[in-house]
Each structure stands twice: as C-alpha cells, then as structure tokens.
C-alpha cells in the first residue's frame, strides 16, 4: 500500500490545482518498509509535453534523474510518480499505461472544476498492458 503524508499531499494537490486546466506531474519520495510505501516528500516537476497539456503530460528523464538523486541524498527512495486528470476521473488511461514504468506507483489526482475531487494509485505490469489498483491512504481520503 501507499501512504501519503500531509505535507507531501498538500504540495501535490496545490500543484495539481495550480496547473489546472492542464495536467501536472511530479515525483514522490520516501521510505519503503516491506509492503508499505510512505510518501514523505513530493517534488513537483515540469510537464514537458510539447502539445496540449490539458490531456497529456511528459516527464523529462533528467528531471527523474534529479528526483532519484534527491532521494538518495536524503536517504529515501523514489516511490512513484503523480499526475492529474483535469475534469475527469482518476483512472489509469491507455496513454498512461503505454507510457508508464512498472517499477513505480502512479498516483492520479482527479481535479474537477479546479478543485481536488479524488485520487487513485496504480501499479502497471511489465508489458504495460494492465494496471492494478493499489491501496492508497491520503489525508483527504
């Protein structure tokens, strides 16, 4: 399961609401203890998708390299990635799946009319053909 702590959660929601009506993205860092991943730090990153960002996001690999280095520097792990779905539900779309990486948790925040609505976490498989819902605990749940 994945637990998101208050400070990290506030930053994720603020980033998603600020970038509305576009999609936002970022990295989640924290410790992993057995099956429990705890997001202690959220790192908002720039959506580098060159086209319409209302429906797409793209992370620069060098930004993820930075996130990985930040995690190592602080004795934490890169747990996963978050992004927003403006005015639609927090499902894991075909585009999300085909451009995902099975090593990480993917938290999707549904932002409706500019405000946080709900969130889900997803675990894609190795072949990027399906994603399982992961138990998610956050302060607004």
């Amino acid at each position: 399961m994945i637990k998101i702590e208050q400070e990290a959660w506030d930053l994720m929601v603020a980033h998603a609401q600020k970038t509305y009506p576009n999609e936002c993205c970022g990295a989640m860092l924290g410790p992993i203890d057995g099956d429990v991943k705890t997001v202690r730090v959220a790192l908002p990153l720039e959506n580098a998708y060159p086209g319409a960002q209302r429906e797409r996001y793209e992370l620069r690999p060098e930004d993820l390299l930075f996130a990985e280095r930040e995690a190592r520097k602080n004795g934490m792990d890169l747990i996963g990635i978050f992004h927003s779905h403006p005015d639609c539900d927090a499902y894991f779309s075909k585009t999300d799946l085909e451009n995902s990486c099975p090593w990480y948790s993917f938290v999707v925040l549904s932002i409706q009319k500019g405000q946080f609505h709900h969130a889900n976490s997803w675990l894609p498989n190795m072949e990027q053909t399906e994603a399982a819902k992961e138990e998610l605990e956050h302060p607004n749940a």
């Binding site: 793209e58 690999p61 060098e62 390299l65 990985e68 090593w103």
Partner: protein, 91 residues
C-alpha cells in the same frame, strides 16, 4: 570499475544493493555484466529481443546515452551509470 546505480524497485534483484560495480568498457558491456551477475534484473531492463525496454533510459554521469553512442558509449572506471525511467501519460 564503472558503477551502476540501482533504482529502488530493482534492488530486490541485486541482493538489495543500491549500487553495483561492474566490469566493462562500454554501457552495453556494463549492463551485460550486471544482468549476468543478477539474472532477475534482465527482464526488467530488456525485452524478449534483448533490446532495452521502452521505459528504460540509461545515463552515463549526466548524459543520456541515446545522444552519445547508445550501448557502445564508452565508460571509464570513474563513471556512474544511472537507470532512469521514461514516463509520460494523459487522460
């Protein structure tokens, strides 16, 4: 020997190490040495045709090997190889 930094989710396949020193004078040789030492790592990094999976980027220090000489990119003993995911999406 060049050092490969292991992303957290893959450490379970590398005796929980966060970095592994490997022999090899190119990125391809270094990754080959890594997967030879830790065979379970292979399916995470390479597809059935032996090509790097679409979501895997490899950096030597701060440089993406796609913009160097890909798997033939030379590595020296002091170099650090990073495995970085490629991630995008959309509703």
């Amino acid at each position: 020997m060049p050092k490969i930094l292991i992303p957290t989710p893959l450490r379970q396949f590398a005796d929980k190490k966060d970095a592994v020193e490997v022999s090899g004078s190119t990125v391809g040789e270094a990754l080959g040495a890594l997967t030879a030492a830790y065979p379970d790592m292979k399916k995470n990094l390479f597809n059935d045709e032996g090509k790097l999976r679409s979501f895997v980027n490899v950096y030597v220090n701060d440089e993406d090997i796609r913009f160097l000489e890909k798997d033939k990119t030379a590595v020296a003993d002091s170099d650090t190889i990073s495995i970085v995911p490629s991630i995008a999406g959309g509703r």
